[in-house]
């Protein structure tokens, strides 16, 4: 499958990446190659192989509804680039939230 330049720009916008025209062209080729590689799987998949999102035969990994201590608030925000009054501080949100 070959991607159009519009596809690349759309994906870039969703990832909030600013690409130059040269980069769009370069990535168009690279992303198309990756998709072609993944499509190889389609050649061997058969009707009786269900889509598999996990390679492990695991299910129902869950826990009881018992509270455990949370992080001390200072520690919670310690790794944040910026915090104020115990809250994470983030740059102005521009564009539309989705």
């Amino acid at each position: 499958m070959s991607l159009s330049t519009d596809d690349v720009r759309h994906v870039a916008r969703l990832a909030r990446l600013a690409l130059t025209d040269d980069e769009v062209q370069a990535l168009r080729g690279q992303l198309s190659d990756i998709l072609a590689y993944a499509e190889k799987v389609g050649e061997v998949a058969t009707a009786n192989v269900p889509p598999t999102s996990h390679p492990y035969p695991l299910r129902n990994v869950w826990r009881d509804d018992e509270p455990r201590p949370s992080l001390p608030p200072a520690e919670a925000v310690a790794a944040a680039p910026a915090a104020q009054d115990g809250r994470f501080s983030v740059p102005r949100i521009i564009g539309e939230p989705v």
Partner: protein, 508 residues
């Protein structure tokens, strides 16, 4: 007659409405980590590496949340998926620290149920597309840079503003990760009233199941409405707008009514409806564009590799099915059939969560219909005024039985009983004690009332004469005078009887 008025145009459209309702689950801990769930408190005091999305952490499903999802699914007649899965919904917005929200996509836990709602036009069945599990988001404050000297909110020390005007935002992740169920209806709803009935019924079911406190005002239950119009008789859907931010059943009705009018106006003028998310503004009673909606593909859903499938044991599902409580529809039917309440009374009692109290009061000797009236009128109004659940009223079944007994033996008139109930709700004690302490007992002492009746006749001979002349209605003024003289404590039926006796007696 070739001209059509806007109104005639309007009647040629029908609304197609679907609701998406989020229910915050009343578990003790979050969906994927063991942080406690609570309300209020300092920001980021209930967070951990998992709900903060730190690298190397793994989410683990809260089994109780799965149980609650299954319970709701069963109550709505859904199929419980033998295997369901969590997906990542990817987006850039700092209300989730991970840049994605864990949700369910193509294999939700519950599929295909229905809800029957009572409307003015009779019962209506609304299909449930799905119920899925997801995690709640954090709360953002959008603030102005106060170092520039702009006014500061003394409480917060922050100048909070709208997102579009903000210099930066502050995020609290205490709410991030709280389990939510999203209940998606089929587009089977046609009017604002039906939408309100659906929301009310779903809320009653959630409360009966005990899986959420379901408070619309506080956001533990949230309702979004997808509204579109199409010409009557057409089967193809029109372009829809999704309306958010309705925090009461009443707002939902108002928002849908507004949205139908807005779209009708657009279509009547030949203009298109834009597919977008709109924000309901309670103060102005209007909706406005919040954002032009991205398509589902743009969220790039993919299976969360950190979470394995949920495959509830059929025996567990059967056990949950067997332990479902009586649901609101069945409760209403029982109140009508076994206690003889009207449909409206039964709906009021069950809707207010007061069926258990009514049952107990009836067991304590209260007449059902009368007790139901006190509950659906006075007690519900009392709770509404205070913004609390009616069931939280400090009124016991024995109080209610005592109150109805005092009315039955004419110690209290309805009006006095209302005053007594107010005092009982204020915590002054049982009705009999309150009536005695406050001197609110009804005067049924004939001697005392006769004196008051004579005084009233003497004070208004003209009215008395009209009654003697056969004008029965004129007695009202005299009854009023006696009630006033006795500060409302006279037994009105007795006063009426005494007055009529006096004024219609042959030698009166």
């Amino acid at each position: 007659m070739s001209t059509t008025t806007a109104l005639e145009q309007a009647t040629r459209f029908e609304a197609v409405i679907g609701l998406e309702i989020h229910v915050q689950l009343a578990t003790r801990t979050k969906m994927f980590c063991s942080c406690a769930i609570d309300f209020g408190g300092e920001p980021n005091t209930r967070t951990c590496p998992v709900c903060l999305g730190q690298p190397g952490t793994l989410p683990v499903v809260n089994r109780r949340a799965v149980e609650y999802a299954i319970r709701l699914g069963l109550a709505l007649g859904c199929q419980i998926a033998p295997s369901s899965q969590f997906h990542r919904k990817n987006y850039f917005y700092p209300d989730m620290p991970k840049n994605y929200q864990i949700s369910q996509y193509d294999v939700p836990i519950c599929l295909g149920g229905e809800l029957t709602v009572a409307t003015d036009a009779g019962e209506r069945r609304v299909g449930i597309t799905r119920v899925h599990m997801e995690e709640d988001t954090g709360k953002s404050l959008h603030v102005l840079d106060t170092t520039s000297g702009v006014g500061v909110d003394p409480a917060e020390g922050l100048r909070v503003t709208r997102i579009s005007d903000a210099d930066y935002s502050l995020v609290d992740y205490n709410r991030a990760g709280i389990p939510l169920l999203e209940v998606v209806s089929e587009p089977d709803i046609r009017t604002a009233t039906e939408a309100q009935a659906y929301l009310t019924e779903l809320r009653a079911i959630v409360l009966a199941l005990g899986i959420s406190d379901a408070k619309l005002e506080e956001g533990s239950m949230r309702c979004d409405a997808n509204v579109s119009l199409r010409p009557v008789g057409h089967t193809v859907f029109g372009t829809r707008a999704e309306v958010k931010n309705m925090n009461s059943v009443r707002s939902l009705g108002r928002a849908i009514t507004y949205e139908i009018a807005r779209q009708t106006d657009l279509l009547t003028r030949g203009e298109p409806v834009v597919q977008e998310t709109r924000h309901w503004n309670e103060a102005t009673g209007t909706t406005s564009t919040l954002r032009v909606k991205e398509t589902t593909e743009d969220y790039r859903y993919f299976p969360d590799p950190d979470l394995v499938p949920v495959q509830p044991d059929p025996a567990w599902v059967d056990e949950l099915r067997a332990s479902l409580p009586q649901l609101p529809a069945a409760r209403r039917a029982r109140l009508v059939e076994s206690l003889g309440l009207s449909g409206q009374q039964a709906a009021g009692v069950v809707g207010a969560g007061l069926a258990p109290l009514l049952d107990e009061a009836v067991a304590a000797g209260a007449p059902a219909a009368e007790a139901a009236n006190w509950l659906t009128n006075e007690v519900t109004a009392w709770a509404n005024e205070r913004g609390v659940e009616p069931a939280a009223a400090p009124l016991t079944a024995s109080h209610l039985a005592e109150l109805t007994a005092l009315v039955a033996d004419q110690t209290l008139s309805k009006k006095l009983a209302r005053q007594v109930l107010d005092r009982v709700l204020a915590g002054e004690g049982p009705p009999r004690e309150v009536a005695a302490a406050r001197g609110l007992a009804q005067i049924s002492d004939t001697g005392e009332l006769e004196r008051a009746v004579d005084a009233a006749i003497a004070a208004d001979p003209a009215a008395a004469q009209r009654v003697r002349d056969g004008n029965r209605k004129a007695v009202g003024a005299l009854v009023g005078a006696v009630m006033k003289a006795t500060k409302g404590q006279a037994n009105p039926a007795l006063v009426n009887e005494l007055l009529t006796g006096r004024l219609t007696a042959p030698d009166g």
